[in-house]
């Protein structure tokens, strides 16, 4: 154990942290929106929508993320003339955007299943009650269905956020130098796997710890009905 070396490693790995967080935040945000659309299609899209979403989820959950990333990064490069014509080459040329696209498509499949479960958990009575008050359409969805669905889905969603944070490590395989990319390079240079592993692992553990606490706060904030009421009102 070489403390000086570990401190140096820590400082180097820290420079990769913004990229890791950026990758995770971008793909979780975009994946969340995509997942919302997909789960809406699954619920209201009839048999065609259900079939499409089931196929999407099957493909993206059944195959490794790394292969999906390779397909997008290396595979789409094969269609360079076509992509250049469409003006999309600027996106697919960059490993960063390819990683974001792969992570987004992948997390959307998992997240849509979580959202679908949340939407199914909204009981018919709650919808009926809202209708009895005269709510319908987007208002009913925004005020009643969505908040309840989010509340149900949140614990599982927290797991997915953490899985995504860890999945950004795969971006290092397509030449992105985030925390794991830097760690891999350091290990290959110094051959001191154990020290680098401890430092990199500690960084990831610290982030996931913060994320789980954050999720707990959001959960607390979203479920006022389960909180203990102040004794003076009782």
């Amino acid at each position: 154990m070489d403390i000086a070396f570990m401190w140096e490693t820590f400082l180097i790995l820290l420079t990769g942290l913004p990229l890791t967080l950026e990758l995770a935040a971008t793909s979780i945000f975009a994946g969340g929106i995509l997942a919302l659309i997909i789960s809406l299609v699954a619920v209201v899209g009839g048999p065609v929508g259900r079939g499409f979403t089931r196929g999407y989820v099957f493909v993206f959950r059944g195959s490794p993320l790394l292969v999906q990333m390779f397909l997008i990064y290396y595979g789409l490069g094969q269609f360079r003339p076509l992509l250049q014509e469409l003006g999309l080459w600027a996106i697919f040329r960059e490993p960063y955007w390819c990683a974001v696209i792969a992570l987004t498509l992948n997390t959307a499949a998992y997240t849509s299943e979580i959202f679908r479960g949340g939407l199914n958990a909204v009981s018919v009575q709650q919808v009926e009650a809202a209708r009895a008050c005269g709510m319908s359409g987007p208002l009913l969805f925004r005020r009643i269905v969505l908040p309840i669905a989010i509340r149900h889905a949140l614990p599982a969603y927290g797991n997915e956020v953490i899985l995504m944070l860890k999945a950004t490590a795969l971006a290092s395989v397509i030449t992105i130098m985030e925390v794991t990319g830097l760690a891999g390079k350091l290990i290959a240079d110094s051959f001191r796997a154990f020290e680098v592993f401890i430092v990199a692992g500690a960084i990831y553990l610290a982030i996931t710890f913060l994320v789980t606490r954050l999720m707990m706060i959001v959960e607390f904030w979203l479920s006022p009905h389960l909180r203990m009421r102040p004794p003076t009102l009782a």
């Binding site: 059944g62 195959s63 490794p64 390779f70 595979g75 795969l170 290990i187 796997a193 990831y204 553990l205």
Partner: protein
């Protein structure tokens, strides 16, 4: 049609031979996944016993194991075993005056890394299953005079296995997909073979798409197998619904 013909000429079983190679690489993916999963079951059982132990230090160690291994990217664990294992073997060799070690065997690295990671998940599955064993069953076993070991072997273990199978199915799918990461060690499994093929033909799209389809076939087949196993082990139980 022309597209399909061109695809088959590239990936099929004709003179190029990539189809055969991809299939044998799929077998390698299955092999390293099965070995990793079994290693994870063995290590996971040990961790489970530690979690259920009456000694707080063992419980604490086991919880730390699960937290760390689930909180760290699996790619890092693979790096640790790949580079660290080689350094360790080299050091051991040095102790005995042998300088010839170059690297860890890739298959062993894969098995160890997948085993260590999946043990963290499997130990949680087993712990949940242990909690599901009804206390009445344990009392009944004690009442007919079973001693601890026969009680464990004939009552607890079969019940735990029965409750654990759905969770083990999830873990198996996880290991199967994670085995693609072993390609960085140079083990020629499905992803690595596709990389080789994509590189030498300069047709990455076709080969990575084929790899995805082959992975889907494997995960789909194993989900069927696990569902079959589940219904078999649940035979003789009445549904509570």
């Amino acid at each position: 049609m022309e597209l399909i013909d061109r695809y088959l000429a590239l990936v099929g079983f004709g003179e190029t031979g990539w189809g055969t190679l991809l299939l044998s690489a799929s077998a390698m993916t299955l092999g390293v996944s099965i070995c990793g999963f079994l290693a994870g079951t063995i290590l996971g059982s040990v961790v489970t016993f530690m979690k259920l132990s009456r000694y707080i230090v063992l419980r604490w160690l086991a919880d730390a194991y699960t937290t760390i291994l689930r909180g760290v990217p699996d790619l890092l664990v693979i790096y640790l075993f790949y580079f660290g294992g080689s350094a360790f073997l080299g050091y051991l060799g040095g102790l005995f005056g042998y300088q010839g070690f170059i690297g860890m065997p890739a298959f062993l690295t894969g098995t160890l890394a997948l085993g260590v990671v999946s043990a963290a998940y499997q130990s949680e599955v087993f712990r949940g299953a242990f909690k599901s064993v009804a206390s009445g069953e344990l009392e009944a076993a004690s009442a007919v005079g079973m001693r601890p070991w026969p009680k464990f072997r004939r009552i607890v273990a079969p019940l735990v296995l029965r409750y654990a199978i759905p969770g083990l199915g999830n873990t198996w799918q996880l290991v199967l997909k994670e085995s693609a990461l072993i390609s960085i060690t140079g083990l020629v499994e499905l992803l690595r073979q596709s990389q080789i093929a994509a590189g030498s033909t300069r047709r990455p799209f076709e080969f990575y798409l084929t790899a995805i389809v082959l992975y889907l076939v494997i995960t789909w087949a194993s989900s069927i197998a696990f569902r079959h196993l589940e219904t078999r082990t649940m035979r003789g139980t009445r549904s509570s619904l």
